[in-house]
């Protein structure tokens, strides 16, 4: 593995562990297991904000750190980013399950060990909104949920696709990914407004980069 990748992986893993804690995903004996969200949707205001990266990292981290059975679902029917990341082009996925041309078991692609499986967006040409509203999708999500401890759903960018709020309603909680220095407060506010019928767990600030020297941060007691 490339040194740069190792370094980036380490940084990313630590950042995602913070999300575990803040979102209450970690193994807490005191917490009620039933209250813990199982299906977590990841969305962002616009494309390129890093929702796919966060979704992959969160799924990989949950399977790696907690040893949990995690399913990563590509529900972004416009970009198929998860499929692109894992090389699932041309393979059956979510749309094919909804269309009934493939079973859920056939659509699962295990990656990197037995704990993490990926379901791509699929190859069937269906209208995204139709997929989002379909009963088949509800049933599929219900099945995936029953078979996994965590389901991470890569949703479309909310400000670009109105299927995102609909798909978000199939999730127990939604995480909004904001790109540092790019996503505006107005955009986040709009996303939060569109997701008002869902449980917005919080915001993850992606691609954060501080230009402030460490000694200035210490001297001025600045919060990150």
């Amino acid at each position: 593995m490339d040194n740069a990748v190792v370094r980036a992986r380490s940084d990313l893993q630590e950042a995602v562990r913070e999300i575990h804690i803040m979102a209450g995903l970690g193994p807490d004996e005191r917490a009620n297991e039933h209250e813990r969200p199982v299906v977590i949707g990841i969305t962002s205001p616009t494309y390129g904000d890093g929702k796919t990266t966060v979704a992959i990292a969160l799924a990989a981290s949950l399977s790696s750190d907690l040893g949990a059975q995690v399913t990563l679902v590509d529900a972004d029917l416009q970009t198929h980013s998860i499929g692109e990341a894992f090389g699932l082009h041309g393979r059956g996925g979510l749309t094919d399950i909804v269309a009934g041309t493939i079973s859920l078991a056939d659509a699962r692609y295990p990656v990197q060990g037995p704990n993490l499986t990926v379901i791509g967006a699929g190859t069937a040409t269906l209208e995204a909104a139709r997929v989002a509203y379909s009963t088949a999708l509800r049933q599929t999500m219900s099945t995936i949920r029953s078979e996994s401890q965590f389901v991470i759903v890569d949703l479309p960018a909310t400000n670009h696709s109105m299927t995102a709020p609909i798909l978000a309603q199939r999730c127990d909680g939604v995480v909004i990914v904001a790109r540092s220095g790019h996503s505006t407060i107005g955009n986040i506010e709009r996303v939060a407004g569109l997701l008002r019928d869902t449980n917005v767990m919080g915001v993850v600030i992606n691609r954060a980069r501080s230009h402030i020297p460490a000694f200035v941060e210490r001297a001025l007691n600045l919060r990150r």
């Binding site: 593995m1 490339d2 740069a4 990748v5 190792v6 370094r7 980036a8 992986r9 940084d11 990313l12 893993q13 950042a15 995602v16 913070e18 999300i19 803040m22 979102a23 796919t52 990266t53 992959i56 990292a57 990989a60 399977s63 790696s64 990341a85 894992f86 090389g87 692609y109 295990p110 990656v111 990197q112 060990g113 993490l116 995480v175 904001a178 540092s180 220095g181 790019h182 996503s183 505006t184 407060i185 107005g186 986040i188 506010e189 767990m201 919080g202 915001v203 993850v204 600030i205 691609r207 954060a208 980069r209 501080s210 230009h211 402030i212 200035v216 001025l220 600045l222 919060r223 990150r224």
Partner: protein
């Protein structure tokens, strides 16, 4: 408490903020730096005897000759005609130079007089050329002397004309009175015999007195004419004896030293302007940046921040910076996905190439 965003904006745009702070004072320093000037001075001893000419005015007992003369020189230097005469004599402009040309050249130099005691004045000139400054002092003194002589001559000529007119009238009156006296003596010869009769004749005595008074007036007028003629003739000598150059001007070897206040004043003002520009830019950057950069920015939305993912750079050091970092930006997405996938124990096969083998399916 200072908002993090403004500190962030400051360090993010540090180079742009630093540019006006450095360039504006530098530009001001280069554009308005004080010119190198050379100063030449002549010390002149002046006398009260110069007073009386219309050019100088009446000498007051309350002012010293030096005060008086320096005022006169400075007043002359404030006139365009005198300036042109000085510049022409110093060969800085032609004799037929326009008023605009004279004003333009005069702006490059400065000439003035100042008292240095009761009878000493200093005539000083500054110019970018050391020889020109000495020449200007010389030209000012010589031109002032010529003006003085001309003015004395003009005043004396007017006086002579006036006195001569009065003299003609007085002499005519004298002749009339002498004629009247002769007529009276011819009619009364006994009054001129020299005995007591003449002394007691009231008419005779009156006529004699009138003749004597008129004769006295004629003599006075003659003296006045002669005095004016003397004044006119001796005007150059009077100036030389009452306006003595003690230390003639010399071409200076070194320029006039400029004070640190004069040298640094404008660059400091430029620095203040540069800082004002930078601060305005920083403030506008801060006020117009509505993006999310830290948890502080999301406070108004009431959404909790679950975490902060750092920017994942494919390169390090120079490779992460402009311009290489910008060129490698297209790699970031794939790189981030690789890093995210690598969180599980075994990295995806994609890292090793071969798309088909990376998902381990079929």
């Amino acid at each position: 408490m200072i908002p993090r965003k403004i500190i962030e904006a400051f360090f993010r745009r540090l180079w742009l903020i630093a540019v006006p702070v450095v360039l504006v004072p530098l530009a001001v320093f280069l554009l308005v730096r004080p010119e190198t000037e050379y100063q030449s001075t002549a010390t002149v001893w002046v006398d009260r005897s110069l007073g009386g000419a219309a050019l100088i005015g009446e000498v007051s007992q309350w002012t010293t000759p030096a005060e008086h003369q320096s005022t006169a020189v400075n007043e002359m230097l404030s006139t365009d005609r005198f300036r042109k005469a000085v510049l022409t004599r110093a060969e800085l402009v032609d004799g037929d130079a326009s008023r605009t040309e004279v004003a333009r050249v005069w702006r490059l130099v400065s000439v003035g007089a100042a008292e240095r005691g009761s009878n000493l004045i200093a005539v000083t000139a500054r110019s970018p050329d050391p020889d020109v400054s000495a020449t200007l002092v010389d030209a000012t003194i010589v031109e002032f002397g010529e003006r003085f002589s001309t003015e004395v001559t003009r005043t004396a000529t007017a006086e002579i004309e006036h006195y001569e007119e009065q003299l003609v009238l007085a002499e005519e009156e004298l002749q009339e009175r002498e004629g009247a006296l002769r007529e009276y003596i011819r009619a009364n010869p006994e009054v001129a015999s020299g005995d007591a009769v003449g002394a007691t004749d009231l008419n005779y005595r009156t006529l004699v007195n009138q003749v004597e008074q008129q004769l006295s007036l004629v003599n006075e007028l003659n003296e006045s004419v002669q005095s004016a003629e003397r004044q006119m003739a001796s005007a150059p000598q009077a100036f030389s004896s009452g306006f003595i150059v003690q230390d003639p001007p010399e071409a200076p070897n070194n320029p006039v030293p400029t004070s640190i206040v004069e040298r640094s004043g404008m660059p400091l003002a430029g620095l203040a302007l540069g800082m004002a520009i930078s601060m305005t830019y920083l403030y506008l950057s801060y006020r117009t940046d509505h993006t999310v950069r830290s948890a502080e920015d999301l406070g108004s939305l009431g959404l909790p921040v679950l975490g902060t993912v750092p920017e994942l750079q494919p390169g390090r050091g120079l490779a992460a910076r402009f311009p290489l970092g910008t060129l490698l930006r297209w790699r970031r997405r794939d790189f981030a996905w690789s890093a995210a996938s690598a969180i599980t124990e075994a990295p995806p096969e994609r890292q090793k190439g071969g798309r088909d083998g990376r998902n381990g399916h079929g």
